[in-house]
């Protein structure tokens, strides 16, 4: 996708637009060829009007005055976008902003639109409206590339579906003759899950209990979006609870609520018999929560600091990093060396910056750090994302080992093989709710996949025949 929009250069392969082979060096080239991109995260200036945002950077086309306004009206009417040129962007809601983004791209003369996860931020009615817009565009002869995790949406809007898994095209299908199940099969692959746990180590001692967690946020339109809705679950000692779900359905917020980085509106979090609902993050960490964050660069590392300082991060109050109020640099460095060796972090030394390690090695360092403080509960959010195959297997091993030692593990992942292979219990999260549960011993990725799109709820039973 980045390559198509000229943000990255391919090593091999060609791109053909309208029968002509092209090379994009930067997004400007792509725009010149009529390719426009609507990013997942909007790129609009809040304090400018719609008109100003649209002409920004494209002043040469129709100026910035009446002609530009006329053109915007024209495009807006032609495709039924209903954009008001003089409204301030900060006054617009998410769906309107998205329409402005689309208009921005059309204004620049795009004939091919790339939409990256456009529905992730929308409520169902807004999704329907967006699909109507897309159909208008299609009717006018434009090409739309629609990138999404949500199978139902893809099936309803697309004329042709290409499935990409782990960087390669695995198939192209016609949506009319395809069921969500078949699509899910293509998405997750039909090979057997590799990360398999052996004997069950689940005990009946509850370690983490989450009860009635609720979080709502009011957006600019005054529409209340419920992010976490009555989330309740219990993880026992030695149990891995896996949470499946398409990203953006509240998983990040759930983790942040358990970590104390975000205050839920209601609900109780109990760790090992102690109510930690109102404890600050540091207390929660000290009381035994290990945390492998979803975005290691934002939440897990100090990129420009050496490895040994990163080893201290998050555990500055604990041994061996400090004694009293003072840091124990010698012990911390020695322990960093130990982690580097024990967890096979490939690095020339502990004084290099975290940024100079590869993603897999950064992740192994984080896993090593979090496992070094005898956690009672390990929260692992996408623990093997962006990690090479070797490191992935190693990280799975560490999680299994932790489970054997009686840890409770909350595993959140988009990799269904990983979830099914590692978890003792599976829950599915959809639009802020835990909508379904399943037994990882019998469930298939396809069945899980359909629950992730909201198609199935309740207890998922594996059925031998294709009744579903």
């Amino acid at each position: 996708m980045k390559i198509l929009y000229g943000m990255q250069q391919p090593d091999e392969g060609t791109i053909t637009v309208g029968g002509e082979q092209v090379v994009f060096h930067d997004p400007g080239d792509a725009i010149a060829r009529g390719i426009g991109m609507v990013h997942q995260h909007f790129m609009l200036a809040d304090n400018l009007t719609v008109l100003e945002n649209v002409v920004l950077g494209a002043e040469k086309l129709h100026g910035i005055g009446g002609k530009a306004r006329a053109r915007i009206k024209e495009i807006s009417d032609a495709y039924g976008l209903g954009v008001r040129p003089d409204a301030l962007v900060e006054e617009l809601g998410v769906a309107d902003r998205q329409r402005v983004e689309i208009l921005k791209v059309l204004y620049r003369g795009a004939k091919t639109l790339i939409l990256d996860e456009p529905t992730a931020v929308l409520v169902p009615q807004e999704v329907d409206a967006l699909f109507d817009n897309l159909r208008e565009l299609k009717a006018e002869g434009l090409t739309v590339i629609f990138i999404s995790h949500k199978l139902g949406e893809v099936l309803s809007v697309a004329d042709e579906i290409t499935v990409i898994r782990r960087g390669t095209t695995v198939g192209t299908v016609d949506p009319r003759g395809t069921t969500p199940k078949q699509l899910a099969e293509l998405m997750v692959g039909s090979e057997l899950p590799t990360p398999e746990t052996q004997e069950s180590t689940v005990t009946d001692v509850p370690m983490l209990t989450v009860d009635g967690l609720h979080l709502a946020q009011t957006d600019l339109d005054g529409i209340e979006r419920i992010i976490l809705d009555e989330i309740s679950f219990t993880i026992h000692k030695g149990e891995v609870l896996g949470i499946a779900g398409v990203e953006g359905n509240g998983q990040s917020e759930l983790v942040e609520a358990i970590m104390g980085m975000r205050r839920p509106d209601a609900g109780v979090v109990t760790l090992d018999g102690t109510d930690i609902s109102h404890a600050p993050t540091r207390d929660r960490r000290e009381s035994g929560i290990g945390y492998i964050p979803e975005d290691r660069h934002r939440h897990g590392l100090l990129l420009e600091a050496p490895l040994w300082e990163n080893r201290i991060l998050g555990h500055v109050t604990e041994k061996p990093n400090s004694r009293g109020g003072l840091l124990d640099l010698k012990a911390a460095r020695a322990d960093t060396q130990r982690i580097v060796e024990a967890y096979d972090v490939r690095t020339p030394g502990i004084d290099v910056t975290a940024a100079s390690l590869s993603g897999g090695n950064q992740q192994k360092l984080i896993v090593g750090r979090e496992m070094s403080h005898q956690p009672k509960l390990l929260i692992a959010a996408h623990p093997t994302r962006g990690v090479d195959v070797g490191a992935q297997a190693a990280i799975w091993d560490y999680i299994r080992e932790a489970r054997r030692e009686g840890l409770a593990v909350l595993l959140i992942s988009a990799d269904l093989d990983e979830l099914i292979g590692l978890s003792d219990t599976l829950r599915v999260m959809y639009r802020g709710r835990l909508v379904a549960d399943a037994d990882p011993a019998t469930i298939t990725p396809e069945e899980l996949g359909s629950a992730m799109t909201g198609a199935a709820t309740g207890h998922l039973e594996h059925t031998e025949d294709d009744a579903r």
Binding site: T281, R285, L326, T347, G349, D351
Partner: protein, 375 residues
């Protein structure tokens, strides 16, 4: 493996020195051109600066100046380490010096008690003034840059209002200078007598202690680690359990407390009163020095000494028929170059390290098995 580690460290040190060195050299080149443009001989100017700058009375002057500048540099650097731009150091130290001078003039207790009281009062005043900006930032999201600039102006106005005859000021005999009531001589800070070269202010001892404390707290304590963490990544800090807002307010207050010390060498060792000719603008000098010294306690000291040296020697150049604006040119160019050079060197260093690590790992992996994953 140890060998490589030490090599990378040495390289980092080298890169660390490269930037300020580059900046100073660039400044010399520009200054040379400027002097040439005015039709004078730059060689003579530089040799005059060196001989005059290293005379013993100049050395004492430079050390005294540098004491003040060092404290200013550290005050600003505390904010920088935290990603806070405390422009308000200027207002903080002036208000602190003024209030402390009023207190000092009014106190009738013995010196051993009065001096610590005056210093503490200055630190508290600076801290309170900075706290206003810190609290505005964490509660209302007001940029500390804007808030502290405003507070500088307010400090100026408050001092001007209070420093009037009949309020907290008094007119001197000549009738030209308004000042606070002078400190009793028992409240003078000690100084080292260096004979004909003049007096070396004893406050330099405090400045050194502040430097040591700065190094120790930031580098060796849990609190310092938390502070640096917030400075490097607020999100990672929050995830690691640091109360980011509390930390922002705290570091602003500490920065202000150190800023409160800036006026003390002058007040306790030199002027002994706060008058309307009390040195102003040192807060801004502190920004330049903190930048030059890379927020490092020793770097700041070198920067402060360089600033003192430049000031002393260019003053003298003026008597030799050179333009006094040379000082501004040199200082300005140094600061400008330093900012550019740091960014260039930082990026270069990061990239170079990544390449080295990659190369090293490739070599390691290639040795045992040819087809191993090099991550």
């Amino acid at each position: 493996m140890n060998k490589l580690t030490s090599r990378i460290d040495k390289e980092r040190l080298l890169l660390g020195i490269a930037a300020p060195l580059l900046a100073v050299v660039a400044a010399l080149v520009v200054t040379t051109l400027v002097i040439l443009a005015t039709g004078k001989n730059p060689g003579d100017a530089f040799s005059d600066m060196v001989t005059y700058g290293f005379a013993s009375d100049s050395q004492v002057y430079i050390l005294n100046k540098a004491t003040t500048y060092y404290l200013a540099g550290v005050a600003v650097a505390i904010g920088f380490r935290m990603n806070l731009f405390n422009i308000g150091v200027d207002g903080q130290y002036r208000l602190a010096a003024f209030i402390a001078a009023v207190l000092g003039g009014a106190l009738t207790v013995p010196g051993w008690l009065a001096i610590p009281l005056i210093i503490l009062c200055a630190m508290a005043t600076g801290a309170l003034w900075a706290a206003i900006a810190g609290i505005l930032k964490v509660t209302r999201g007001v940029s500390e840059v804007i808030a502290t600039i405003m507070l500088n102006s307010i400090a100026t106005a408050v001092i001007a209002y209070l420093l009037q005859p009949g309020k907290l000021g008094q007119l001197d005999q000549a009738g030209t200078l308004v000042s606070t009531k002078p400190l009793p001589s028992s409240s003078y800070f000690f100084s080292f007598d260096t004979g004909p070269a003049g007096e070396l202010w004893g406050f330099i001892v405090i400045a050194v202690l502040v430097g040591v404390a700065y190094w120790f707290v930031l580098g060796r304590t849990r609190f310092g680690f938390d502070l640096r963490t917030v400075g490097q990544s607020e999100t990672a800090a929050a995830a690691s359990g640091v109360g980011v807002k509390k930390m922002i307010a705290t570091s602003m207050i500490i920065s202000g407390a150190v800023a409160g010390l800036i006026g003390m060498p002058t007040l306790l060792n030199d002027s002994h009163q706060f008058s309307n000719d009390f040195p102003a603008g040192i807060g801004f000098t502190g920004i330049a020095i903190a930048l030059l010294g890379r927020n490092h306690p020793i770097g700041i000291a070198l920067g402060a000494l360089l600033w003192g040296f430049l000031e002393r020697t260019t003053n003298h150049l003026e008597f030799q028929g050179y333009d006094k604006e040379i000082l501004g040119v040199i200082q300005g160019v140094i600061v400008l170059c330093v900012v550019i050079a740091y960014e260039v060197v930082r990026r270069y260093g990061l990239k170079r390290q990544q390449q080295r690590v990659g190369a090293e790992l490739a070599a390691q992996a290639a040795a045992p098995t040819k087809k191993q994953e090099v991550a």
